[in-house]
């Protein structure tokens, strides 16, 4: 038997290296990046000391791109090429976007995700978001002085699968390794809960620029368990601006405005809303290109009347979430307010009234999501002893598929804890049927037409049988990012199933490749070189992970032969990674991964045993 090796204290075999990881809040109106420094979560600023990056991207004719303040100041002058609130369009088709007539953009009416025509060509909301992410990535690498290991990117809890996938695609375009997609209210709860040592049932009320989320969580000893979530992915502070804007149009009896005037008036509306947070009335003045002069005063009481329906629209999801969690208002320990829009006093008042307690606002509602995401990123990157933080989140909307007659069959119900997998068997409708079309949908309604279509694919190669004889098992798996994968297999024949995917509102793999190509050629980079570099980074990451696992458990779970085999594959990968054949590196990565399968299984079994033993020890106490 080999002797166990013990290293000197503080001299681990693999010296611990602090990995650079950040949390990114990709917001509808503003975006932020935060990181954990010396154990404290902090928001990173730009060179001018600003934390909030306006989520505005302007495309110029010469191919240059302006992001943030620079773009925002040009919004009124160049409205068609200056895209704000792109988050509202992520994973969405043209028909899904409300108020499209008020938006100055040139939308392309094509199947799938909506596209915008700009002077720099047609842009997808994913590309617009990627520009914002690139700026935040550069800000973080500047501030931290090195390449990022990865990022946690937040999404509204109520985002559906298409919107989540679009967000992940945007990160990929921006060259960011996504450690996890994290729900915004959960991120806020982490920042809040860890700061306040909170225990019990908490509600996070998150009204952002364009989305509304409510999550109900049970906090206990570093475990954040989401019990239920609800919301409206098309309701936010922007809608309050729009109410003011419409009120001005109505009161001033203005004719339809030019795009520049629309943008100007929307800006004025937003400023008035913000002014009303601390003042009883707001004056709205501007001179339009048409020569019309606007000069009006909006009182708080008028503003409250105008927006009462919007406030009510946020309370309905709160009630639903409580019902789903099988809890009453009295069970709630505290209500955390998140999102800039919750600064509006009448929102706070409505929440206070509903819960019968003062909402908690001691963390900056604009920053709390990014701060929480940074804490999670730090844990996922392995910088912190993980034993004290675990997030258990849920699926926001039921996932199912279309059955006969356009009806939905739910496979995974809403509020199921992720990761989750469910399978259901289906059969053929006609004699000799050899293919089956599978339509994946998300939503709570009975009719497929009322749910969101996520994807369609076909299972082919079913051996011809009598109607009803085939047994096709469709399995839905939702991973820890909340992303769905679907597989289908005919059970009786065991025949190889062929699956083709047509994402309804996502991007095809080749579209992403083209976008990457375009962005590289613009940055003067060589696509091939970049791909090689990324593969080398993957190889490095795998080698580090395997080395760490071997260091910890190699002696315990591997015999000499098995250990030698893994060592050999590691050597091979090191050699391959030093070369410049990306395909060969990928192949060697796959081989090493496969070679560590058994080792991984043994380690996992040991972890499970440890969990149960730990449990029993506690019982003895």
């Amino acid at each position: 038997m080999a002797l166990l090796q013990i290293s000197e204290p503080g001299m681990g075999a693999a010296p611990h290296q602090h990995r650079l990881a950040v949390g990114i809040d990709l917001g509808t109106t503003n975006s932020l990046v935060a990181t954990v420094r010396s154990g404290l979560s902090v928001v990173l600023h730009d060179n001018d000391g600003r934390a909030l990056l306006p989520s505005v991207v302007r495309f110029l004719a010469d191919g240059q791109v302006e992001v943030g303040m620079a773009a925002q100041t040009q919004q009124s002058h160049d409205p068609q090429n200056t895209i704000a609130s792109a988050k509202r369009f992520m994973g969405r088709g043209l028909k899904d976007i409300a108020d499209i007539t008020h938006l100055p953009y040139r939308f392309l009416d094509e199947p799938g995700m909506v596209q915008l025509r700009t002077v720099a060509g047609v842009k997808s909301p994913v590309e617009v978001s990627a520009e914002i992410l690139k700026v935040l990535k550069a800000r973080a690498e500047d501030a931290l002085g090195g390449e990022l290991t990865g990022a946690v990117i937040t999404v509204p809890a109520y985002f559906d699968d298409a919107q989540r996938q679009a967000t992940k695609d945007a990160a990929r375009l921006a060259g960011i390794n996504v450690l996890r997609l994290l729900n915004e209210p959960t991120a806020a709860a982490v920042a809040y809960g860890l700061d306040n040592g909170a225990e019990g049932v908490y509600v996070v009320y998150d009204l952002g620029g364009g989305t509304f989320d409510v999550s109900i969580l049970r906090l206990a000893k570093g475990i954040f368990e989401v019990l239920a979530t609800n919301g409206d992915s098309a309701l936010g502070g922007d809608d309050f601006d729009r109410r003011i804007y419409c009120w001005v149009l109505e009161q001033a009896k203005l004719p339809p405005l030019a795009p520049e005037d629309n943008s100007l008036l929307m800006t004025k509306a937003r400023e008035a809303k913000e002014w009303l947070t601390n003042n009883p009335e707001a004056r709205i003045t501007c001179v339009l290109r048409s020569g019309d002069i606007v000069d009006m005063t909006l009182t708080t009481s008028t503003f409250i009347d105008l927006t009462a329906p919007l406030v009510a629209k946020t309370i309905a999801p709160v009630k639903k979430a409580l019902r789903d969690a099988k809890l009453l208002v009295d069970d709630v320990q505290g209500v955390v307010m998140v999102g800039g829009a919750t600064r509006m006093p009448h929102i706070q008042h409505a929440v206070w009234e509903y819960f019968g307690q003062e909402p908690l606002t001691n963390l900056d509602p604009d920053k709390v999501v990014a701060l929480g995401a940074a804490i999670q990123a730090n844990v996922l990157a392995g910088n912190r002893n993980q034993d004290d933080l675990l997030l258990l989140d849920v699926v926001p909307l039921s996932l199912g598929l279309e059955t006969m007659g356009g009806l939905t069959e739910k496979i995974i119900p809403r509020n199921a804890t992720i990761p989750v997998a469910r399978a259901q068997d289906f059969t053929t409708f006609k004699d000799g049927q050899t293919a089956m079309s599978i339509h994946v949908v998300q939503g709570e309604r009975e009719l497929v037409a009322d749910c969101r279509s996520l994807a369609r694919f076909e299972l082919r190669g079913i051996p011809p049988m009598a109607a009803g004889a085939a047994r096709i098992r469709v399995t839905f798996q939702v991973d820890a990012d909340g992303l769905l994968s679907v597989s289908a297999r005919e059970q009786n024949s065991g025949a190889e199933a062929h699956i083709t995917v047509k994402p309804s509102y996502g991007l095809e793999e080749n579209e992403i490749a083209n976008m990457l190509q375009a962005s590289y050629s613009h940055a003067g980079e060589d696509m091939q070189m970049r791909a090689l570099r990324e593969t080398q980074v993957d190889a490095e990451r795998l080698l580090v992970a395997v080395a760490a696992a071997l260091d910890k458990d190699g002696e315990r779970y591997l015999n000499a032969t098995e250990r030698a085999a893994i060592d050999e594959h590691m050597r091979a990968l090191r050699t391959a990674a030093a070369g410049n054949d990306a395909a060969a590196i990928k192949q060697t990565i796959a081989v090493l991964n496969q070679a560590t399968d058994t080792f991984a299984a043994r380690r996992m079994d040991a972890s499970v045993r440890r969990a149960l033993t730990g449990h029993k020890l506690e019982e003895l106490n």
């Binding site: 258990l392 990761p419 997998a421 994807a455 597989s487 699956i499 560590t596 449990h615």
Partner: protein
């Protein structure tokens, strides 16, 4: 959306859900212990613990965390717990095929449905909530009956009938929730 090839779910997880969480196979379980054991298990196997690990480990972690969630959900909910226990005893609860119910239960079913319809017509959310509370207490006494039938009398046929009743109550409660949702939005 990603479409993955089908993979065999959970290769070597032969333990029953009760064994997995170190609990005796009873209907009357200690929920606090279940919660604790579940959290201990997730603390070890959750994908967040393996964000920087190898593909193999991440895959294993996903499978185990998925399994832990499924086992927890099954035991946490009284209806699924009873169904699972009966399954372990080789008893089919015949929820789809056996629709025979005692006459008095059928009567009450009709009363509940009528009460829902009446409340919806006049948009009376409070009446629906009161009805919901009534059903909850009904479910509570059914759970007590289940505990007796399963844990003490080994009366699996009787337990199956109670499961069918509980399932029915679940459906009615879901209808109430939907009706309230519709009235409130």
């Amino acid at each position: 959306m990603l479409i993955a090839e089908s993979f065999p779910l959970i290769a070597n997880m032969h333990k029953t859900h009760f064994e997995l969480f170190g609990l005796p196979p009873l209907f009357a379980i200690d929920i606090v212990r279940l919660d604790q054991a579940y959290r201990h298990l997730q603390a070890e196997v959750h994908p967040d613990r393996f964000a920087a690990a190898t593909d193999s480990e991440r895959h294993q972690s996903l499978q185990w965390a998925t399994h832990a969630n499924e086992a927890y959900r099954t035991l946490k909910n009284p209806l699924t717990r009873a169904r699972y226990l009966l399954q372990l005893h080789g008893v089919d609860t015949q929820e789809e095929s056996n629709t025979a119910m005692p006459a008095d239960f059928l009567m009450r079913q009709m009363e509940w449905r009528e009460a829902i319809e009446d409340a919806v017509v006049v948009a009376d959310v409070e009446a629906l909530e009161a009805l919901d509370r009534g059903l909850r207490s009904e479910a509570r006494s059914l759970r007590e009956e289940l505990s007796l039938a399963l844990d003490e009398q080994n009366d699996y046929a009787g337990a199956s009938e109670i499961v069918r009743k509980l399932r029915f109550l679940d459906k009615v409660q879901a209808e109430i929730d939907q009706a309230i949702d519709a009235l409130e939005s």
